[in-house]
Each structure stands twice: as C-alpha cells, then as structure tokens.
Symmetry: C2
Subunit: 126 residues, 2 copies
C-alpha cells in the first residue's frame, strides 16, 4: 500500500486532469490486438476518431467538451470474430465491426442511444 | 453498412468466442500510453495479471472460468496523474496506481466489491 500522504488530493488531481470533472458520456474501446488488427481494427479506430471529431463530440485535449472518448485496447477474447468494439458505460460488445459500420454505430448508438443489434455479441453493463 | 448476410450469427460467434457466454464479472483496463508507461504502468499491468492468475480469477484461454479480464488501453486523460486503471462495469477510474497498490485493489475491489477510495478519481458507471 502507498503512503496515503504521497498521493495528491482529488482537488489537486482535478486541476491536472480536466477529464475528472468533465461529464463524459461514453468510452469507445477498439481492440487493436493481433487478430483484430489483422482484420482492420486500426482503420476502425481511426474512422471512429475522425468521424467523432467531425461531429464535434470526441473528447481530446483540444476539445475538452467532447462527450465521447475513443481509445484502443488489448484483446477481449473476440479474436476470431473481430474487430471488437466495446462501448461503456452500457457494456455493449460489438463484433465484426468494419469501417463501413462506424457511421451507423455513431449515429444510432453514440448519438441516439440505441445499440446496433446486428453486431452486438455481449453485454457487461452494470 | 455491411450486408447483414455477411455477418455470422450470434450462435456461430459464441462457438468461436467462448467469452460471449461466460459470466465475466469485471474488466480491468490499465493505461499503457506514453505518460502512464513512463510512470510504470506496464509493471502495474503485469502485477495485476500475475496476481489474478495466482488467485485463479484471470480470464484467459487457459482459464475460461476466470471472472476478471485484464487488458491494456490507450490514454484516458489521466496523463498527469497516472498510472490510470479503470474497472468496469462499475466505471471506477483509479489514479496514481503503483505495483504496491495492486494487492489492495484486487482484495478490496475485485474480490470484495469495495473500491479503494483513496485512489478513485472518477466514476463513469451506468
């Protein structure tokens, strides 16, 4: 266990990490591990980022009001059915996501709140 | 949009990705982007994996009954206060996590269900 005195306070941290007090609505994780990457997941990640930037909703240092964070992640066990994309806090796990599916996921799910059911393969929401 | 006929059915996918039907309890994301990595996050990730394996709860191909998945992820905006560790489905964001904190997070949070409050800096649970 760390010495509690060695950890900055939540208030000190909030000044250094604005995301703490920001009302982030969703996180989109795109698996970029071996199998997903071999099936084009890097392009899926870039498509999400580019289209979320265009829509003005990607959270970045330049756009700290963005409601959606988009990041890569390691393998979630969808190696044979990737690319895998997970959306939290709902805990929606998508499989077989291609660049062509990105606009639909953004429009229906990230903006409209309705998951794209034909690609949903698991749910782990709270 | 993909041709719906080109995507395998959920049943076909479940045969290829056993995690789909597995009752996964939690996902632990450890940020391994630049700033967190420079502050030791790779060692934090390895400590989580090793100790979760030892406890018999890490989900892997070899241990498909494991209740906890542990994976790396990209930057979550905690660059100045990392290493960052996120636990879903609760949506608990930890900052300043060191290898020394890993046993406490496993024992209290992942096994006991009680977050380690002194390191919690954000909540995005559903």
């Amino acid at each position: 266990m760390s010495d509690p005195g060695s950890v900055p306070s939540p208030e000190q941290d909030a000044a250094l990490a604005p995301v703490i007090t920001h009302a982030l609505q969703r996180q989109v994780f795109v698996c970029t591990s071996k199998s997903c990457a071999a099936n084009g997941s890097e392009a899926v990640l870039e498509a999400f980022k580019a289209q979320l930037i265009e829509a003005g909703v990607l959270y970045t240092k330049r756009n700290p009001d963005g409601e959606v964070q988009c990041l890569q992640c390691g393998s979630v066990g969808f190696c044979a059915i990737g690319p895998a994309v997970l959306v939290y806090p709902e805990g929606i796990w998508y499989a077989h996501v291609t660049v062509a599916d990105v606009p639909e996921i953004i429009e229906h799910h990230l903006k409209g709140g309705v998951p794209v059911e034909r690609l949903v393969r698991k749910r782990t929401g709270a």
